[in-house]
Subunit: 133 residues, 3 copies
């Protein structure tokens, strides 16, 4: 029942003493607000919110796989944009990673994300086994 | 243990390939950020944040009932306003749907919601059975 | 399985009919968006985001202890700032309360918090036993 920290290849780990990208406790998976930063955290990859969303969902997918699960196990995503008009770009990216019953979702425009080049941040909650049909 | 999508009469379903309003996994219930849109998603119902909150809580209540639960099972609500000064209106609406030990809550002002006529969006997490006394 | 409301000494309780600071259901702990208000809710304690974060983490720690848990059981924190540039101050405070595998985290700048003197609000999710090594 104790928490297990999940790492994935190509997903940059945050600096020591800050946060974890992904924790699994029993069958519950918590994924931090992910952004499209490079593995070294020094640049933001993606010219627009579609491309950044692809970068983010790739990381979330890698973390889910390292957790022993899959995208279909994700039950909730929260999406934070710096421009609400980019939502169609995020939706377009999301359709490449989910099918059937999509996760519940909240999508908001916030004032600022951590880096001025970031236009989207996405966090997720999953339950291992939720996606089994 | 697999996720079950919950629908409710009078609660408009989002377009195919976007998100689910409500998913139940075991006894955990996740409800998307709900807004006071009409069932056809084309207009926002409610002249102010009180009226919009009533519209939202009505939907959440319907989804909870379709889940086999009740409002008392809700353990967490996150409330997003476009004007923080509307919080008393949301609180007033909330008192019509909860009693006893209210859900934990976070209330924030964000830059924008999806539609300019929306002034409030509310998401919820519930655990079936949590409200049984 | 029914929800249990958790109170802690020195943590001000919200007004009747508004929200709960902390609910425990089985081994899941939900903590509301906490701010550095005094126990009487009339003033905000802390000259800057570091000091306010200390005030907030003190409350979260007290609530976790009243829940029968500890800070190490926290799996997720969401941090809302009114100035994204204050994030280093929050991180500095966070390092005084966590070690090992930190919680997953989302950090955002929002337009406004409930009181103009507040610069930071933090909510948390914990699973009792998650921190046991």
């Amino acid at each position: 029942m104790s928490k297990k920290r999940i790492r994935a290849q190509d997903v940059g780990e945050p600096p020591e003493g800050t946060w974890s990208n992904c924790l699994v406790i029993d069958n519950h998976v918590y994924i931090a607000g992910m952004t499209s930063r490079s593995a070294e955290f020094d640049t933001v990859i993606g010219e627009n919110s579609y491309e950044q969303s692809i970068g983010i969902f790739d990381k979330i997918k890698a973390l889910m796989q390292s957790s022993g699960g899959a995208m279909a196990d994700i039950v909730k995503v929260n999406i934070f944009l710096t421009d609400i008009n980019d939502r169609d770009q995020v939706w377009r990216a999301r359709r490449e990673y989910f099918s059937g019953d999509f996760p519940v979702s909240t999508l908001l425009e916030v004032s600022k994300l951590v880096h001025p080049d970031m236009s989207v941040e996405i966090e997720a909650v999953a339950i291992l086994g939720a996606g089994v049909e």
